[in-house]
Structure formats: structure tokens, C-alpha cells
């Protein structure tokens, strides 16, 4: 892997503009003097011809090439992979073959078969890989981890989590199962699962989930609302509302809240809460202006620091947990489909009778 690049800007390739986060990452990376950014978005995107591709790159002020091959030939120091969910595994393979360290949008994959394939590939090429899970970089989460390690929380008994958002309708592929791999479960279970994984290290063993399409019924053949309850090996239960239930007219995208009950006490964290609140007299709508640390900015900074060798890549930890989380999502989808509690595939023996 590349080590020190001190003295010259890092070349970062933005592989696809499919994900809504691609724009966010592009804006942040473009504003950094230590980064050269080049983008491509060659996959078909008939649903959004004007909001993707070269015209989007232009409006973001990012240089553009026509193909993944051209972008790879530019020899980027790192790749930010923001393709559609089901297109990412193939792109990861191309990046691995060229030895380009990757920050990939979550989830790692949409099926455990794909997740296994990606895991083998990453190991074979010894590819530095990082998942785009920005809430990890919150100071509040660091504090939770320290409290947990210090025993202030005691053993975690349960976690009740809300990670709801607006339907990401600027990109219609999110509700096209062929490209998204699913709906709300695929899109929004993973953040909380990852935080729980990092907090407790516990292993998810079974999942019960329900979903529906009451909201946005025309959006596609995927659930737009979802509730999942996950049982862990130690007996901990985690429940997550991952619905796309935040109204389109809401002032911001949504949020992530955890209530953690431990044997020594309870703590609630509302990660994206801080904001000014009010009403706009012009629109009649609520006015909310969030402030505080930009976690995307911090996550990208961590990626750049890794590329410069200033921080260690933790690919193995990331992969193991990411692959396991893919299994949980798959189990949630199956549970919602069948109405049964589903074992997480790596640990079938743990399902209660």
C-alpha cells in the first residue's frame, strides 16, 4: 500500500456519482488543498440524466473522465466508491486488482455471497478498505465506548435505536431492488449495527423484522418502512427503526438516536440533534439549521490520513464486521418476507426454538 505522500496532493478518484453521498464527499474533498479529485459516472442512469454524470461533476466543480478505466489509469492514491449498491462488488474487484485503497459506501454488499466474494478478494490483494460509516467518528460515540470500557454503563442489556430518514428520492435506484438490493433494511440498518458492533463486540445471532410499503407506495418493489429486532449471543437485544419515514417537507434528512440500557444505568444519544429551530414565515415550514462537527468531513479526513500513512488501516476489523452486518440485513429481509425469526447465517445454532 502507499505510504507517505507528504508534499504533494493526494489523488482521489470518485468512482460513480450514483449515491446521494457522492455529492457530499465531492464538496468536502474539493475544498481540501491537499486533494486532487477526479470523477467518473459511466454506468447507465436513465432515471436521472441531468443530475448525474458529467453535468453533475461540472456543477460540483469536479474534473471528469468518461470511464472507470480512465480513472484507474490516472493512478489514484485512493478511491471513494459511491456506485449503486449492487454495482459496488464488481468495482471493488477492479480497484483491488489495481491495488487502489478504497473508502466504500455502505453496505459492503447486498448478499452474503457477494460479501464473501469481496472479503476473499480484499484479502488476496491485501487491499486497504474502509467503510463509509461516519457516525463512528462522533465524539459522543467515542465517549460511549470509553464509558463502556470503564464499566460506567455496565453490561449492555438492550439498545433501542432510531435511524430514520427521508426517502432518498433524488436517486430512484434506491428503490429498484436490482440496483439497491432492497429498501430501508439495506439502506439504514447498518449504521446502528456497526455502532453496536464497535461498542460491545457482541455477535448477532437472530433477527425478526417487519416492513411495509405504506409510505411512497409507488416508489418501487421494496419496503419503505422497517423495524428490526436483533438478538445477540450474550442475550442483548437491539431494535432499530430504519424507515424512510421522515417527511419530504421535513427541514433535514433525518437522524440517529440510541437509547442504551446497561446493568449500571442508561444513556441516550441523539447524534444529529444540535440545531437552531424555528419557523419560516415565508414558507410556513419549520426552519432547522443543524450545526456541529461534520462527521463526513471527519471520516474523509481519517481516510486521507490512512492514505498518507499517518493512521493505520483497519481493513480486517472493518471487513469482518461489514460482512456480518450484510448477513444481518439479509436475515431481516428474509424475516420480513416469511414472518419468522431468522438465524444470522454464520451462527445458525443460536436461534431460539
Amino acid at each position: 500500500m502507499p505510504t507517505a505522500h507528504t508534499g504533494r496532493p493526494l489523488r482521489i478518484g470518485l468512482f460513480s456519482l450514483a449515491h446521494v453521498h457522492a455529492e457530499t464527499y465531492a464538496r468536502i474533498l474539493r475544498s481540501r488543498p491537499d486533494v486532487q479529485l477526479l470523477a467518473t459516472d459511466p454506468d447507465p442512469h436513465a432515471d436521472a440524466p441531468h443530475t448525474r454524470g458529467r453535468s453533475l461533476a461540472q456543477s460540483l466543480g469536479v474534473d471528469y473522465v468518461e470511464s472507470y478505466e480512465e480513472l484507474l489509469d490516472w493512478r489514484p492514491d485512493g478511491a471513494v466508491l459511491t456506485a449503486e449498491n449492487t454495482r459496488r462488488p464488481a468495482l471493488l474487484a477492479r480497484l483491488a486488482a489495481r491495488g487502489v485503497p478504497v473508502l466504500t459506501e455502505k453496505p459492503l454488499a447486498t448478499t452474503s455471497a457477494d460479501a464473501d466474494a469481496v472479503t476473499r478478494l480484499v484479502h488476496r490483494h491485501d487491499l486497504p478498505l474502509m467503510l463509509a460509516l461516519p457516525v463512528r467518528y462522533s465524539s459522543d460515540f467515542t465517549r460511549l465506548q470509553q464509558d463502556h470500557r470503564a464499566g460506567v454503563l455496565g453490561d449492555v442489556v438492550s439498545v433501542q435505536a432510531v435511524n430514520t430518514a427521508r426517502l432518498p428520492d433524488r436517486r430512484r435506484w434506491f428503490t429498484d431492488p436490482a440496483l439497491s438490493g432492497g429498501g430501508a433494511f439495506v439502506d439504514h440498518l447498518v449504521h446502528v449495527l456497526d455502532l453496536v458492533d464497535r461498542l460491545t463486540g457482541d455477535t448477532p445471532v437472530h433477527v425478526s423484522a417487519v416492513g411495509n410499503r405504506v409510505l411512497h407506495p409507488g416508489a418501487g418493489a421494496v419496503e419503505t418502512a422497517g423495524l428490526a429486532t436483533i438478538g445477540y449471543r450474550s442475550g442483548t437485544i437491539v431494535s432499530i427503526d430504519c424507515s424512510w419515514s421522515v417527511p419530504e417537507t421535513a427541514p433535514t434528512w433525518g437522524g440517529l438516536e440510541l437509547r442504551i440500557a446497561g446493568t449500571r444505568g442508561a444513556v441516550e444519544v441523539d447524534f444529529f440533534r444540535p440545531r437552531l429551530r424555528g419557523t419560516s414565515r415565508r414558507s410556513g415550514l419549520p426552519l432547522e439549521l443543524p450545526y456541529g462537527t461534520d462527521l463526513d468531513e471527519r471520516m474523509l479526513d481519517a481516510f486521507l490520513r490512512r492514505l498518507r500513512g499517518q493512521e493505520e488501516h483497519t481493513t480486517d476489523q472493518d471487513l469482518t464486521s461489514a460482512a456480518r452486518l450484510v448477513q444481518v440485513v439479509e436475515a431481516a429481509q428474509e424475516s420480513a418476507r416469511t414472518g419468522r425469526t431468522v438465524a444470522v447465517s454464520a451462527t445458525p445454532d443460536r436461534v431460539p426454538a
Partner: protein
């Protein structure tokens, strides 16, 4: 400020002399070091302990400190600011000064003029301008989101600092709750809603508790209420504001916007933990980064020496209004 000629810029690493080692020094020294400055500390007491906790070196005397630095950061009790700023300027140093710039308005104007005459930067540390909620308010108002401002409210409450540092209780030295604490909100009110024409105020004090209620009329016609408490030792520090204009309203409360609510017993396992916050997200860090950047690039920071003097004028006017019971009308501004 428009010093003539423009102050010569410094190159990194900055050589900073921190004068004072009290409470606020803990919010300056670690950030200055994080910004890569070489810091020398001088204080009548506490300098050794401060340096042992964070780093830097100490100077046994003020002259020794002045020999080793290009910038002086004044974090001493308020009544000593004026003389230290003048001494530093006379030795050709740039100055960062904790707010209030000085205890009195006339003296504050005098040090601003001294800095301009000396061709040196004088940067008052009004840290609340660097708290993200206030910075967000300022940009929303400047962007016209709220239209023409009509009425603003700001509150700031906490435990009185007078137990830990008795000089705060002496109004001659500190200016009390208005000049020491509410100067923040007076500065923000002027920053957001523009120059002030009239100041009225009333204060109450019973037992160890002090409160102050200040009313401002801005030149624009907007009116502002500023309220503050120095309360009992167990009071949680909290702030809030509400700003309403012709096109809308924005409010904030530090209590209700806090991300964490906990029911934890920290007295047992693990003992007392120092809360971990990202130091680079600290408003004190952001403030010192911007102020020191002005010293090396000349790029104006969001607060200048004249702002510092104006904030003192608003605060001492409120103090006067509270004493006389009559509004103070400000000329110019």
C-alpha cells in the same frame, strides 16, 4: 482595524507568551500547543503546574517572557489587562487578550489606539463568536433568512465563578456578571443585529446569587434582551437564544440541543471520567486557530480590536444603567 503601516506578518512556529495561569489558561495553552506554537508561560502563580499539565516552558519574569516571544496572550484577571496590553505593545508584540479587552471603555479605546499606532495586531478573545450555534445564527441572519430583525433574546446562566476566583466578586476589578459574562451576549447581539443606540439594565442580588437583565435598542430598531445568572455552585451552565425577524424565527437552547442524556452513576466503577471531546471541535481551538492565522496571513478574523472596545462600552453602559436606573444613550457606534 486599519493600522498604518499594516503589521508585519509572523511565520510559524509562533512564539507566544501566555500571561496568566488561571481558569481560562486551560482553554488557551493546550490549543496554542496543538496549533504548533512555542509557548512561554508567566504568571504570579500556577505557571509550573499549568506547563506540567500541557507543555510549554515558563518564564520567571515578564521581561524574560517578552524577550522570548512575538505574541502575547493575556489571560489574567480583567483589571490587569490594560497595563499588560500596553507593555506588550510597547515591546513590539502582537496581542491576543481574553475578553473584556479592559475593565473600562476609555481604557479599551486607549489600547486599541495604542495597537494601531504601534502597527501591531490586538485581537480580543470573544470565544462565543466561535461557538457553532452562534456562528450559524450570524450566517443565517446575514443570509437574510429571518428578514429584518425585530426582537432578540439571549440568556447565559451558571455557577458564580466567585468561589473559585474571589476577584470576580469585586465589581471594581471584574465588572461583575455584566462585564465579565454578559459581555459575550452583548457582543453577539451587536454582531447579529448591528450597532446599539440605547442600553437599559437592572440587577438583583440575594445571598450568593446575582442576576442581570439588560435591554438594548439597536439603530435598526430591533430590540434585544440579555439575561444572565451567577447562581449556586450546582447550577448547570446553560445558554439560549431566540431571534425573530419579519421572515421567521430561530431559537436555540444548550440544554435541549445536547446530544447526550444520561442516567449513569459515575461515582462507582471507573471513577470520575474526564469527558472526551474532540479538541479540534472546541470553540477555543477554533478561536485561537483563527486569531493566530491572522498573525501569519493577515486575513482578518471575525472579531477585531474595535469590536472588543464596543463590547466593553455596551457592558459598562449596562452597569451604569443598572446603577442609575436610567437608560444610557450611546453616541456614534
Amino acid at each position: 482595524m486599519n493600522p498604518s503601516p499594516a503589521p508585519a506578518l509572523l511565520t510559524a512556529p509562533l512564539r507566544v507568551g501566555l500571561i496568566g495561569a488561571g481558569g481560562i489558561a486551560h482553554h488557551h495553552l493546550p490549543h496554542l500547543l496543538r496549533l504548533g506554537a512555542d509557548v512561554t508561560v508567566h504568571s504570579s502563580h500556577g505557571a509550573d503546574e499549568l506547563v506540567a499539565a500541557y507543555g510549554g516552558t515558563t518564564a520567571a519574569s515578564l521581561p524574560e517572557l517578552l524577550e522570548r516571544v512575538d505574541v502575547v496572550d493575556v489571560v489574567t484577571p480583567t483589571h490587569t489587562h490594560g497595563e499588560l496590553i500596553r507593555t506588550a505593545l510597547a515591546h513590539g508584540k502582537h496581542v491576543i487578550s481574553e475578553k473584556p479587552l479592559t475593565r473600562h471603555h476609555r481604557d479599551s479605546l486607549a489600547v486599541v489606539e495604542a495597537a494601531e499606532a504601534a502597527g501591531r495586531f490586538l485581537l480580543p478573545a470573544h470565544v462565543v463568536r466561535f461557538f457553532p450555534e452562534y456562528a450559524q445564527l450570524k450566517s443565517a441572519v446575514d443570509a437574510g433568512l429571518l428578514g429584518d430583525l425585530a426582537v432578540l433574546r439571549f440568556t447565559r446562566s451558571g455557577a458564580a465563578p466567585t468561589t473559585a476566583a474571589p476577584w470576580f466578586a469585586d465589581e471594581e476589578l471584574s465588572g461583575g456578571i455584566i462585564v465579565d459574562q454578559l459581555i459575550h451576549d452583548l457582543d453577539i447581539a451587536r454582531w447579529v443585529a448591528g450597532p446599539v443606540a440605547t442600553v437599559s439594565a437592572a440587577t438583583a442580588g440575594k445571598g450568593g446569587v446575582r442576576s442581570a437583565h439588560i435591554t438594548l435598542v439597536h439603530h435598526s430598531g430591533a430590540i434585544t434582551h440579555v439575561y444572565g445568572e451567577w447562581g449556586a455552585p450546582h447550577l448547570t451552565f446553560s445558554t439560549s437564544f431566540s431571534v425573530t425577524g419579519t421572515d421567521g424565527q430561530l431559537e436555540h437552547s444548550s440544554r435541549s440541543e445536547s446530544t447526550v442524556t444520561e442516567d449513569l452513576d459515575r461515582s462507582g466503577a471507573g471513577g470520575t471520567l474526564v469527558p472526551v471531546v474532540d479538541p479540534t471541535a472546541s470553540p477555543y481551538f477554533l478561536q485561537l486557530r483563527e486569531l493566530t492565522r491572522q498573525l501569519t496571513t493577515g486575513r482578518p478574523s471575525r472579531v477585531d480590536a474595535r469590536d472588543g472596545a464596543e463590547a466593553v462600552r455596551l457592558a459598562v453602559s449596562a452597569l451604569e444603567a443598572a446603577t442609575t436606573g436610567r437608560p444610557v444613550h450611546l453616541a456614534g457606534a
